[in-house]
């Protein structure tokens, strides 16, 4: 086998040759690099923004990433919608808001993850409450005495159903429940698959039903009007029968279920009431506190 380097009696000639060759190569490479700068060297020597070449704004220099500075951001997103938005609901992907003072009324569909307005769709006059049934959006048009059903995917109107002075809306898994802004505290049950009116049910309370919510078995309705403290009613969803009427604060308006309790906004009392729904046991009673809001 032929050797690349001849053996040296002192044993270090080959090493010297190797070092000399290496130094020469380094000098040669450095010289060539000066004559022919690499892509990265060219980028560094250019201005921090380069033309995208397609009419788009100049591109940021990707090497600037190491110079980024981080600041506290305002995480609140604000989206312009129609006139006087009121009711809001979520369809699993998008937020829908009714625009009460548009004429006629409209609903705005906003993609939740980036707040892009996807469309605005006409409904009836003075829409208030809104709810999602798993496929479609239901809107209470108070002035028109109707409820609109819109396809959530494209906002097209699927149907319009008569309900007296509708205000609040809730879905029970099969039916849409509509609270009416009339004196005799009534909720109307519409079958979600076709909008058929399955009946109007007195809540047992007095005044407008401005809020409705479902607890998995029962529909809860707020009874807004009344002297002194107001009430909420619990109706069995399967037949609309009144299970009970319970005292809360003055002028109860909105209502929401947290999995164990109903929370009721008492408009006239500057308070919220927490009402147990699971077994009716009394876990405690809380006197009003002077929260600064």
């Amino acid at each position: 086998m032929q050797r690349l380097f001849r053996a040296d009696p002192r044993g270090n000639t080959n090493m010297k040759n190797r070092i000399g060759t290496g130094v020469s190569l380094c000098v040669l490479v450095t010289s060539l690099a000066t004559l022919f700068p690499s892509h990265a060297q060219r980028v560094v020597n250019q201005p921090t923004r380069v033309n995208a070449g397609n009419g788009a704004p100049p591109l940021s220099n990707p090497l600037d990433v190491a110079l980024l500075k981080w600041y506290k951001a305002n995480l609140t997103t604000t989206v312009k919608v129609g006139n006087q938005p009121y009711g809001v609901c979520f369809d699993g992907e998008n937020i829908w808001a009714v625009n009460y003072a548009d004429f006629p009324g409209t609903v705005t569909k906003v993609r939740a993850n980036d707040a892009t307005v996807l469309g605005t769709f006409t409904v009836g006059h003075q829409p208030q409450g809104i709810a999602f049934d798993g496929a479609n959006i239901w809107v209470a048009n108070e002035f028109d005495n109707t409820v609109s059903e819109l396809k959530a995917s494209d906002g097209s109107t699927l149907g319009t159903f008569t309900v007296p002075s509708p205000w609040s809306v809730a879905f029970d898994g099969a039916n849409i429940w509509v609270g009416s802004n009339i004196a005799n505290a009534t909720v109307t049950k519409l079958r979600a698959r076709d909008g058929k009116n399955l009946g109007a049910f007195p809540t047992g309370g007095i005044g407008a039903v401005l809020g409705v919510a479902f607890d998995g078995e029962n529909i809860w309705a707020t009874n807004y009007t009344g002297a002194g403290n107001g009430t909420v009613s619990k109706l069995r969803a399967k037949d609309g029968s009144v299970v009970g009427v319970y005292t809360v604060g003055p002028n109860p308006w909105g209502i929401a279920f947290d999995g164990a309790y109903m929370w009721v906004a008492n408009y006239g009392g500057a308070s919220v009431s927490k009402v147990q729904v699971s077994d009716g046991s009394v876990a405690g009673y809380f006197q009003p506190h002077n929260w600064t809001v």
């Binding site: 312009k80 938005p85 937020i95 929370w263 009392g269 919220v272 929260w291 809001v293």
Partner: protein, 75 residues
Amino acid sequence: MTGALLGTFNLTIGPYNVAFDGTHVWVTTGFNVSELRASDGSVIAKYPTKNAAGLAFDGANMWVADESVNLLHKF
């Protein structure tokens, strides 16, 4: 199930609507949106608005309709 009243909590301004985010209850009170701890009703945060009305939770954020300025706020 009897619907027993467990507590009533003052907010100083008449609230309109409420929503639950899985842990906290959000209440629109006109000039503010208040965030309450569901376990004891204590106010843990408040956010200024012009006239907050309806609200809904999207699984990550709370959306609030601010009716006097034609805006939706995402908190």
